[in-house]
């Protein structure tokens, strides 16, 4: 196993103290016999999570920025659209099916799934292909745990993900001109999907995932560009050959299947050597830093790619 010993911030740095304390209270409640990780409290829903491995040393991006600067074209092109236009999106009830080349396909109810999986908090760096980055405390569970339950067959080599299509609740799915092809689809090689860093997130900052961040369940692959992190997933399919992915279909020259963060392989329209830090504060906050190979997760994931030509397989 690769080294997991990132410098870890104290919990107090990650989460507002109030949320952190209420989480403690929840743990006590859970010990008293509650079977679910999901507890509804006046307004917000708090998740019960434990700190997981793979922390980051950076300061987390403020919650306000994490929830108000989003690329989620189902709700619109502007970064503010998802927060502004997703209030009517119904993330419950929700089912997530795991199917394809597996011995035990299953359709999960989202809340049963959340109750069945031990949730971890993971502070991950998030690097967008547009050359900006955040640091986000996600709550979720490794995708590998879910796939293991389904028992992939020997013939399964890739994992295909599919998002929801609901034009009535997602204004970005209604107009033609600026539209991507719906549903949004993504994919990983099976070994990438089984990697312990690969997370299915159901919350952030200790609270249930906001609609604009991909409720109720989304993928987080921290060594890849953000667009690989498909949101509002309805279907996970184990397949034999490389599945199509939305941005790759839209513009194959600019967005590859692998989409590993790589400061040496530029986007055709801009350099990927450095990134703007979201929420650094105004013009003169010094909000730019060098981009790291595999977004700083090289120690964990470089082995997945061996001698592969990362310039060609961008």
């Amino acid at each position: 196993m690769a080294d997991r010993s990132y410098p870890r911030p104290s919990s107090g740095e990650i989460t507002p103290r109030s949320a952190w304390l209420s989480r403690r209270a929840l743990l006590a409640g859970a010990a008293a016999g509650a079977a679910t990780h999901l507890v509804s409290r006046a307004g917000a829903q708090t998740l019960s999570v434990r700190p997981g491995p793979f922390q980051a040393a950076e300061r987390p991006t403020p919650l306000q920025d994490v929830t108000h600067y989003n690329n989620f074209y189902e709700f619109g092109l502007d970064k503010g659209d998802p927060a502004a236009l997703s209030a009517r999106f119904a993330a419950r009830p929700w089912t997530l099916s795991v199917e394809g080349l597996v011995a035990r396909p299953r359709v999960w109810d989202i809340d049963q799934l959340i109750a069945a999986m031990p949730l971890e908090e993971r502070l991950y760096r998030m690097r967008c292909v547009e050359a900006w980055s955040m640091v986000i405390p996600w709550d979720g569970f490794p995708l590998a745990s879910l796939l293991a339950q389904a028992e992939p067959l020997g013939s399964a080599r890739y994992v295909a993900f599919e998002s929801v299509v609901r034009p009535a609740q997602m204004p970005g799915q209604r107009n033609g001109l600026d539209s991507l092809a719906w549903p949004y689809v993504e994919g990983l090689r099976l070994d990438e999907a089984m990697h312990p860093l690969t997370l299915l997130a159901v919350g952030l900052y200790g609270e249930i995932l906001p609609n604009q961040n991909g409720a109720p369940v989304r993928l987080v692959v921290p060594w890849k560009y953000g667009f690989k992190g498909i949101k509002s997933i309805t279907r996970i399919r184990l397949v034999e050959s490389q599945p199509p992915t939305t941005w790759n279909q839209m513009n194959a020259q600019e967005y590859g299947f692998f989409a590993n963060v790589n400061p040496e392989v530029d986007h055709p329209r801009w350099s990927q050597a450095s990134e703007r830090i979201i929420g650094a504060g105004g013009f003169f906050g010094g909000g730019r830093k060098k981009t790291l190979m595999f977004n700083g997760y090289g120690e964990q994931v470089a082995g997945l790619y061996g001698s592969m030509d990362l310039r060609r397989n961008y």
Binding site: T61, D65, H68, Y69, Y73, L77, K79, G80, E130, W132, L177, D178, S179, L180, M250, D266, P268, R269, W270, S271, A273, S274, R276, I278, G279, G281, G282, F283, F284, G285, G287, R288
Partner: protein
């Protein structure tokens, strides 16, 4: 009505000397306002990107406004030609700010990246070419330069149609998908070029006939 066409000479005269200065100040307001917001962390989580795009958008708007002056006069009789040079200068001013923010605030003066930008990224090469084409137009926009260049001034300033085409392409490329904003502005810019070519073609045929 003083705004309707007159002789070429008095068409360019401005009745109130402060009028063009007022237009310039008004035109710079969007930049001043956003600079103030950005310096005070009020442009959201990604302020440099927002400001950069804002300046580019206003450059497009002023370029388009300048190009609309003639079609507007022909179609409606409203003659705003006395403001056209100021509209062009405002467009150039916004382009300078747009480039300046990209180089200074966004790339923070990273020469390596800028060299790559101008050697391998068509998106930025096209944008930069438009900027370069605008330089001689801005330099020759004084009354003195107009007098000195005489008939050649008009010919030189036809370069603006090349600028319009380059800007339209750069603007379309600035978005990840085609969308209402980018297609509308780029379409209008290209329409101005087509309109102008058509007018020139008709004049040429009349002369040939």
């Amino acid at each position: 009505m003083p705004y309707l066409s007159g002789t070429p000479r008095n068409r360019l005269l401005v009745p109130w000397r402060g009028e063009r200065a007022a237009l310039a100040l008004l035109g710079l307001l969007p930049a001043i306002l956003y600079f103030w917001y950005g310096a005070h962390d009020a442009l959201g989580p990604d302020p440099v990107n927002v400001f950069e795009r804002w300046l580019g958008l206003w450059a497009v708007r002023f370029l388009l406004a300048g190009l609309l002056v003639t079609p507007l006069r022909v179609l409606t009789g409203l003659n705003l030609i006395r403001y056209r040079r100021m509209l062009g200068l405002l467009a150039f001013c916004y382009v300078c700010l747009h480039v300046g923010v990209y180089v200074g605030l966004d790339q923070q003066g990273n020469i390596g990246v800028l060299v790559q930008d101008l050697t391998r990224r068509p998106f930025l090469m096209i944008g930069f070419a438009a900027f370069m084409l605008m330089v001689p137009l801005a330099i020759t926009s004084t009354d003195g330069a107009m007098r000195r260049l005489g008939r050649r001034w008009g010919r030189l300033h036809r370069l603006v149609y090349g600028v319009a085409l380059l800007v339209a392409v750069h603007f379309l490329m600035a978005f990840k998908t085609y969308n209402v904003t980018s297609v509308t502005y780029a379409g209008l810019l290209m329409a101005m070029v087509v309109w102008r070519c058509q007018a020139a073609w008709r004049r040429w045929r009349r002369r040939a006939a």
